[in-house]
Each structure stands twice: as structure tokens, then as C-alpha cells.
């Protein structure tokens, strides 16, 4: 594994009594594409803002590209490109003006990349920003970020307002161009399919807590949903058990490794294993963050109580 591009320890942000981010430990390997998932208000944008120095953490620490986020903010910004969730820029400037404006800030700026992505994304470079469609405004942000020659791309919901063709183009650019340059891509999204399509790693944040972080390949090969029935079933979360939902005599476990062994252990304790099924990222996301479970054969229509 490469050196971490982003690493946080107990990073937290509170607004009064509200804990927007509650001590998260992120590990984003250098050169990887990392999908940062969560519901609206889960804490994704707050986390990103702390990494970029836009807001100050209440507690914890973080390093971006090996530099402390509290003391090396300018050096971090020099090597980091950022696309905000708010895709608003100066209304009277054209994309060409914005390129001119941004170029001077970055020694690694590439005019070749500007031409390439302007053509690829079909951006009208002479039209005022306010006159551009929402999709084109988003593309201008992406153009500026991609042309910066950054070592780290932080994209906060980058595909908002993009049409499917543009989304496909962007994912293609991220998966090939960015990685070819050894650039790390950290992007937040609600679109699980996009993350599954290009990301190598994924983290899921819910209510300010990082509830899962893993390689996507591990999800396919190792993660399993085990449904068991029996009395006094174990209900503890561990390094092996990502989540447990209990309802009466039924229990649903999301197991991260050695599912067969875990199921065998349950059986030895008198449980009846009703199902062991592989999980997609989408299913894991729903298992971890939803409040009311849907009625499936696995949970037999129960409304389980989430354990802490």
C-alpha cells in the first residue's frame, strides 16, 4: 500500500451541541480512487472542509499528502484540487477568464489539460458563467480542478447536474487520466453505482461517524449478509461483524470476513442459519445507514432495532 494521501485520527467537528463529524479515522491510500459515501447531512462536506482548512476541527488530527491540516493549509492547497458541492463561481467571468484567474495560483497548471478537457466536456469557454447551464457550470469546476496538475483531487459530489454522458466522461477521466498521473481521487457521492464503477476504496459515513472503510474488492469477495434464527444470538459488533440487527429471534449480521466460519460458530451455539448472501456496495450502504429496513426474505418483514 502507498503512503496515505489522507489520514485522520478522531477528527471531529461540533456546532454547539450538534456533532457534525464525530471522531472519524480516514485512511486514503496515495494513488487510489476513494469513494466517500453518506446520506445528506451525514458529515461528508464537513469532513472535506476540515481537510481543506475551510473550517477548523473541534478535535482530532488529520494529514493530507503527509502534511498537518492545521499547520500546513497553504502547502496542502498548493497540491490539492477541489470541486465544491456549491457549484457557484463569479457570474460575470467566462470559463476562459476563470482559467486565467486560476492559472496564476498553481505552478503545475497545464494549459494543455484546459484545451483537452474543454473539448472533451464541450464547454463554451467564451460564455459568461451565469449564462451556462447547471451541467456546464459543474464542468467548468471540473475543468479547473483537472487542469491544476494536483496530486490530490477532492471532489464533493462532482456529478451533480451532469447528464449521463458527462458523468461517464468524468468517471473515465478520473479512472484513467488522474490515476495515470499518480493522482489520488477522493470524492463524495450519493451515486453508489459511480463509486462501484471506478473506486478502489470506499468509506461510509453516517451521523458523523465512519461506519465502514474497505476495499471494494473485499466487499465482493468477503462481505456477506448472514441471517440467523435462534435464542440468545450474539449481538456484538466486532472487527468481523460490521452491523447487527436483532428482532425477536431473528438476527442479521453483515460480516466482513470468514462468513462461513462465523455462521458455523452460530450454528454450534444452536442458531439456525437461514441465509448467507453476498452483498453489493448498495446493500451494505443500506444496511449501515437506513433507519427502517425494507421487508426482505432476510428480515422476514421485521422492523429491527439497530444496535449501537
Amino acid at each position: 500500500m502507498n503512503e496515505l494521501a489522507i489520514g485522520t485520527e478522531g477528527l471531529a467537528k461540533s456546532y454547539g451541541s450538534v456533532r457534525a463529524v464525530n471522531g472519524i479515522n480516514l485512511s486514503v491510500p496515495g494513488g487510489a480512487i476513494y469513494g466517500f459515501l453518506g446520506r445528506n447531512g451525514a458529515g461528508k462536506t464537513t469532513t472535506i472542509k476540515m481537510l481543506l482548512g475551510l473550517i477548523r476541527p473541534t478535535a482530532g488530527s488529520g494529514r493530507v499528502l503527509g502534511m498537518d491540516i492545521r499547520s500546513h493549509n497553504i502547502a496542502i492547497l498548493q497540491r490539492t484540487a477541489f470541486v465544491s458541492e456549491k457549484k457557484t463561481l463569479y457570474p460575470s467571468l467566462t470559463p476562459s477568464d476563470l482559467v486565467r484567474f486560476s492559472r496564476g495560483f498553481y505552478p503545475t497548471w497545464s494549459d494543455g489539460a484546459v484545451e483537452k478537457y474543454a473539448r472533451l466536456f464541450e464547454i463554451p469557454m467564451k460564455q459568461k458563467f451565469e449564462k451556462l447551464s447547471n451541467g456546464n457550470q459543474t464542468k467548468v469546476f471540473l475543468l479547473l480542478a483537472l487542469s491544476q496538475g494536483a496530486d490530490l483531487l477532492i471532489l464533493d459530489e462532482p456529478t451533480t447536474a451532469l447528464d449521463p454522458v458527462s458523468v461517464d466522461q468524468l468517471l473515465h477521466v478520473l479512472a484513467e487520466d488522474a490515476l495515470d498521473r499518480g493522482c489520488t481521487v477522493f470524492f463524495s457521492s450519493h451515486q453508489l453505482e459511480e463509486v462501484e464503477q471506478i473506486a478502489e476504496y470506499a468509506g461510509i459515513i453516517d451521523h458523523g461517524k465512519l461506519v465502514m472503510e474497505c476495499r471494494l474488492d473485499d466487499i465482493k469477495s468477503e462481505f456477506r449478509l448472514i441471517t440467523a434464527a435462534g435464542n440468545s444470538l450474539p449481538a456484538q459488533i466486532s472487527s468481523q461483524v460490521l452491523s447487527v440487527d436483532v428482532e425477536g429471534n431473528f438476527c442479521r449480521y453483515v460480516v466482513t470476513k470468514d462468513a462461513e466460519g462465523f455462521a458455523a460458530g452460530l450454528s454450534r451455539n444452536g442458531a439456525t442459519i437461514t441465509n448467507i448472501v453476498p452483498l453489493s456496495l448498495r446493500e451494505i450502504f443500506l444496511e449501515l445507514v437506513r433507519k427502517e429496513q425494507s421487508c426482505t426474505s432476510g428480515n422476514v418483514g421485521a422492523t429491527p432495532v439497530r444496535l449501537p
Partner: protein, 228 residues
């Protein structure tokens, strides 16, 4: 590049007021003479025009120099550029201040030519008379103070209209307070550009300029600590 952006944001305003500054004095003189509303274009008319012009320019430039950069919508873009936040605060201030001083100079120059044209005195004595008694310098210091205050308020409140309103509120509020204190308790509180106590006029002027810069510095501290 950021200086270019600041100039680009304010140039329309600056150029329009540059033209107005050049035309205001002769137009005032011609109109005044034509309508017989005043006896002639003398120093008092010149100073009234000068202070009105610079007051409007100070409020306008103070607002538009910062109106876009520090709003909620675009500040995340600006503040993720690899420069310390004070750089953005002072770059915008410097560009606006240069424009302000250019307009002031053009207005002053046009006023001098107009005064010289309508005066029986030689031109240089007219200019000397303008600077005597602190008149021109006082107007410059007062309006520079207004510019710094408006710019700072716009930055701190991150909204042009609110900044403008707050600046005008503070300006008129201070003057009202000063009058009230003098009339009620006979306390004299100096406001720019009035002399401070028994200090020599040049020292008072320097103090007022420093106070104006301190207001911008205070705004810078707020911007540095603000969360985006």
C-alpha cells in the same frame, strides 16, 4: 492574477466615475453660472463637489471591491486557492484604493483647472489655497476612512448591501453620537478628519489613516477566523 480579477470586478465602476470625476467640476461651474444659482465656481463649491464625489466613490468602491469574493457562494472557491486569506483581503483593498486615489486625483485636477479658469488668481496660488486649511487633505482622509469602513463591513458581513448599510449606519451614527456628546455633556470626541486634541495636524492625519487601516486589519482577522 488576483489583482487582475479585482481590477476586472471594479473597472466599470472606476471608469464611469473617472469620467464623472473629470466632468463634474466644469459641469458644476457651467451649470452654476448658467442658472445663476451661485455666485461663481469658488473654493466652497469645489470642496462640496469634491467631498460628494469622493463620498459616493468611497461607498461604491468599498462595496464592490469585496462584493463577490467573500460571499457565501464563492468564498469556498477563493479560500481553497493556495494563498493566505489576508492576501485576498489586502489585494482587493489595494486595487480599490488605487482606483479611489486616481479618481480623487482626476477630480482634484479638474477642479483646479476649473478654479483657475474662473479665478483671477494664478493657478498655483489656487492650488495652494486648496491644500491650505486641511480642506482637500481632510476630505481625502475622511473619504478614505469611509472606503476602508465600507470595504471592511462588506467583508465581515459577506454581503454588499449589508456592508454598505452598516458602513453608512456607523458613519452617521458616529456623527450623531459626536454631536449628542458635545451638546449634552460638552465632550468633544474627534472624528476623522478633525484634529485629535492638541496634536499637530499632520500627526492627526497619520493617526486617522492608521485607524482606517486598523479597521481593514480587524476585518482581515475576522476573515482569517471565519469558517466557510
Amino acid at each position: 492574477m488576483y489583482f487582475w480579477k479585482c481590477w476586472r470586478d471594479t473597472r466599470s465602476f472606476a471608469l464611469v466615475f473617472l469620467v464623472i470625476a473629470a466632468a463634474a467640476m466644469p459641469v458644476t461651474a457651467v451649470v452654476g453660472k448658467g442658472t445663476n444659482l451661485q455666485e461663481g465656481f469658488g473654493p466652497s463649491v469645489f470642496l462640496s463637489t469634491f467631498v460628494l464625489m469622493l463620498f459616493v466613490v468611497a461607498l461604491g468602491l468599498g462595496t464592490i471591491s469585496a462584493i463577490q469574493e467573500f460571499t457565501d457562494k464563492t468564498s469556498h472557491f477563493l479560500f481553497t486557492k493556495p494563498r493566505p486569506r489576508p492576501y485576498f483581503v489586502w489585494a482587493g483593498w489595494v486595487v480599490g484604493c488605487l482606483e479611489f486615489l486616481t479618481i480623487a486625483f482626476v477630480n482634484l485636477f479638474a477642479g483646479w483647472l476649473t478654479l483657475a479658469h474662473y479665478s483671477k488668481n494664478p493657478s498655483w496660488s489656487v492650488l495652494r489655497a486648496l491644500f491650505k486649511e486641511q480642506d482637500v487633505v481632510g476630505v481625502l482622509i475622511y473619504t478614505l476612512f469611509i472606503y476602508c469602513l465600507t470595504y471592511s463591513m462588506t467583508i465581515v458581513l459577506r454581503n454588499g448591501l449589508k456592508g454598505l448599510g452598516a458602513s453608512m449606519g456607523i458613519t452617521f451614527g458616529l456623527q450623531a453620537t459626536q454631536i449628542a456628546l458635545r451638546m449634552r455633556w460638552n465632550i468633544n470626541v474627534p472624528l476623522p478628519p478633525l484634529p485629535i486634541g492638541s496634536l499637530p495636524i499632520i500627526v492627526s492625519n497619520i493617526v486617522w489613516i492608521v485607524v482606517a487601516l486598523l479597521i481593514v486589519f480587524a476585518a482581515q482577522l475576522v476573515v482569517e477566523r471565519s469558517e466557510i
